[in-house]
Structures are given as C-alpha cells and as structure tokens.
C-alpha cells in the first residue's frame, strides 16, 4: 500500500469511528433511561434502597459497588418486591434490559420480568435474592 492509500484508508477509518461515536452520543441523548440506582452494600451484604425510589417507576436497576452484576428490583401491584441478579443462568453473562424482558447477548436467552425463561438455552429462572422492607427502605441480601 502506498502512502496516499494508507492516508486515505486511515482517514476513512477515523471518519467511520468518529461517526460511530457521534451516532452513539445521539442515540444516548434520546435513550430511554434504565432507572439505575447506584449504591453499596454494608458489611452484612445488605443493600438498602429507599422505597420512595419506586414511586415513579415500579422497576429499578440497582448497581452495587464491587458487585459483578446489576440487580433488577420490581415492585408488584400488591406492594411486595422482588430482586433478581441480572446474570444469565446459562453461562453467567450479564443481561441487558429490553423493555419488560432481560436479554443475554451471548447465546440469546431471554427472561421475563419475573426472571422466568422465555427463550433458551438458559433453563433456570434468574436468581432471586431475599428482600424485606424496614423503615421505609427495601433491604436486599446479596449472594456472593
């Protein structure tokens, strides 16, 4: 490859990557928020979330500091809650929230809002974590 072609190719590549980043930022700006709550666990592996966080939306993605997976926390219409680890039960891949379902990009498994398998190859329901309410907070016990 001569110098001119090399420069042309390099510029083309840079333009393509630049366009990608531009597209990314445009899409991000109009993206639907996942409703992410960032928090940490205490020494007893307990995660505390104010119940008021669920006033606007019944589903929250909880991101715990130093934990390898996000959690999905859902408030039911009867006022109870459940928390699931967003880890595909097939091969341990982190899941992506897609509308009301959770999707594994690795092999295509899909889970419904309660963690039940809609599409394989996963066979098992998502891991549910123990939850309880206390003083206007939701307490989730992490499994490590």
């Amino acid at each position: 490859m001569d110098r001119r072609n090399f420069i042309k190719s390099s510029c083309g590549l840079c333009a393509a990557i630049g366009s990608g980043f531009l597209l990314t930022s445009i899409l991000q700006s109009c993206a639907t928020s996942l409703g992410v709550v960032k928090t940490s666990a205490d020494n007893n592996n307990l995660v505390k979330i104010p119940l008021s966080d669920f006033e606007q939306s019944s589903t929250k993605i909880v991101r715990v500091n130093n934990y390898n997976y996000d959690l999905a926390v859902l408030k039911h219409t009867d006022g109870t809650y459940h928390a699931m680890v967003l880890m595909c039960t097939h091969a341990g891949q982190p899941l992506t929230k897609t509308g009301d379902t959770y999707y594994c990009t690795l092999h295509g498994s899909q889970f419904d809002k309660d963690g039940i398998v809609l599409k394989g190859p996963a066979e098992k329901t998502l891991i549910h974590l123990p939850v309880r309410t206390e003083n206007d907070n939701l307490l989730i016990t992490l499994v490590r």
């Binding site: 996942l34 039960t89 929230k97 990009t105 394989g120």
Partner: protein
Amino acid sequence: MHLNSHNLTMRKITLLSFGILLFTQSLFAQQQFKQTPAQQLIANTGEDSLNSGLSTHARTVISGYGDVSYQRDFNEKTATVNLNRAVLFVGHQFSSKIAFFSELEVEDAKVAGGEPGGEVSMEQAYLKFALNPRQYIVAGLFIPRIGILNENHLPINFNGVERPLVESFIIPATWREIGVGFYGQTATAPFTYSVALVNGLNSAAFEHGSGIREGRAEGRLGGANNLAITASVQYFAGNFKFQVSGYAGGTNPLSPRQSDSLQLSSGFMGTPLYLGEADIQWANKGFSAKALGTIISLPDASSVNRAYANNVAEQMYGAYAELAYNLFANAHSNRWKTQQLNIFARYEMFDMNASIPSNGVYDGTEKQSHLIAGFGYLPLPNVVIKADVRLMHTGPQNPDLVLNPNPSALPYNQNNTFLNIGIGYSF
C-alpha cells in the same frame, strides 16, 4: 397424474408431521415440571450455573445444541436426512473476572478419511476478561456481532428448519475468526456496542456461488498480514431492538512480493472488503417481526478475478423480513402458556453478483428469492420441532457458465419447492 402423486406425498408428510406434533405435545403435557422446595432452592441459588462473581469457587459448565433435518426437493424428487450439527459447549470460570468459553462442532454427523462431507471444528474458543458488570474483552476464536444469526445461531431461537439464507450466503454465519473484541453496554441506557480486531479474509479462497464463505480462516492457519475491524451497536426501545453492524478488512494475506506479482494490494487493508448490516426486531403479545438488510462491497474484485479466476462479484446484497405469531402466547391455561407454537412466514432475497467487474461472468442463478412458511413447536424453551415449506425462485442460468454440459441433463428450472422437517435442542 404427476401432480396428483406430488400432492399425495405432500399430504402424507403433512399428516405425519401433525401426528408427531400431537404425540409429542401429549407426552410433554403429562410431564408437568414440578419442583420440590429443595429443588427450587437449588435452582434459585444457581448452585450449578457458571456463576462468576456469585461464588469464589471455580465452575465448569457443559452444554450444547444441535439439529437434525429432513429435506425433500420436489424438482429432483429426492429427499435427504442429516444431523446438521451437534455442538458441545464447555465453559470454565477461572475467577470472578476471567472465564473461558468454547464450542466444539461436528457437522453432518461423521468425518471419515477420504470421504466428502462432515466437519469437526472449533466454533469458538476464547477467554473473556470482565472489566465491570457492563464491559468485557474477549480474546481468541470468537464470533463477532454481525447480523442476527451469527451471534445467536441456536436452532431454538430462529424460525425455520434451515437458517435464514441471507445469513448463510451473504453474511457467512457462523463467521468466527481469531482476534480481540471489546463488548459493553452503556451505564444508564439500553444501548450495547462491540468493536473487534480480527484476522482478515482470504480472497484466493472465494468461490463463485458461495460469496465470501470460503475465504474465512475460522481459526485455522489464518493469514494475519491483513486484518479486519468489525463493530456493532444495538439499541433496545420498548419491544424493539435495533442493530447496525459493519466489517472492513483486507482480503489478501500474501506478502508484498507475492502480491506485487499478482498485482494485488497488500497490507492491513490490502484488497479491502466492506460489509454493512442493519436489522430491526420487534416482539409483543405473541407477535414478532424481524427485518435485516446487508450489503458487501469488494472494490478490487477485478484484481481478484485476474489473480485467481474465481469469478467473484464487486457487490452482493441480501435482505429478509419475517412475521411470526405464537398461538399459545395468550392462552389462559399455564399448561399451554409454557409452550410455544410459532407459525411464521419469511421472505428472503439476495444477489451474490449484484455488480460484477468487467472480467466477471454474470450468473443469474445467484439472484434468488425464497418464501418460507411453517411452524415451530417448543414444548419447553430448549426443544423445538419444526416444519416448513420453501418456495425458491432464481434468475436464469447463464449457458457460458455450464462447462461440459451433460447431454441428458434436464433444462435448468428457475423454480423449486422444498419441504423441511427438523428437530433442534439446546441446553
């Protein structure tokens, strides 16, 4: 008379298919999967999953997938059966951050010395390094995110006994190469991305009639003088999933000296090939739809033809659209809700010589359209029984491409019908 016997065969096969379906349904209906509280506890704590980060213990997982099919060709009046593939997946979690994944594939059931057919290959074998819950790096032999089927090719996750043809003839799924990839999703939005650097294709191996498929190295002694970059973005909005992916890479793995003698450009992007793809998927209340379009450009096709006389095209394209409905999606009884009976129709079109260089020979048979309609019954999400009919139409045959014509050969028929019946599984 001929038509009557044709219809009779079709009718017999259809009746047999439905018989098998009803029998299997009743079999599974009798086996309601009820777990004891202890079993539920084990299931819900993921005791036997490849569980990174949720346990300090190393874990190994074995799983797999496969499919078997029957196909009747109505023009040829022949039928074949084949164990298309049986794949063994082995994964191992070394630590909370590092894992290994592999897929070992046997195609067509058997590989015997000196006999055609059959293949044993590694479909994937790579290490995965998790950076955080949303980003990771893969290194080794892996399948880049190009199109829908390439990454998600399990038989339970696509409609039809055969894989979508556009993603076999234009995007050569399953397309795996050796390289390094970076995958992730944004922190607060349903937006994923990937970018990977892999070994390039080999244009010397491109064959007329199979697009770029034979140019893949698939992990076996691939040339690394030429490389390729592939990237994708996915966006999830409600019940929609959008994806755009691309590939740009050199197709000449030869040294500069060899390349000069063949008058081919060499280096990282020597004799470049570009692929673009976009798709959209939607699912709601049992209905689902998907559409995909892809285009390939090989600007130096005339140089490749001059060097290797393999009659490759400058441009190829393909597209398909599919509509499906799960008849059990809105059932009230749990017995039916846990099963799926997906009926679907898909229209595919592609042209493997959409644009040819001056030294190429146009082949009308490479411009094809297919209408596929059928069903897939999933008694549970990991097992499928499928049946469909495919109506094929191609352009006319170019007599210049028929070398040593058989004097007893029938005239080329631009239309054909295929009946497919198959089973598939994954776990």
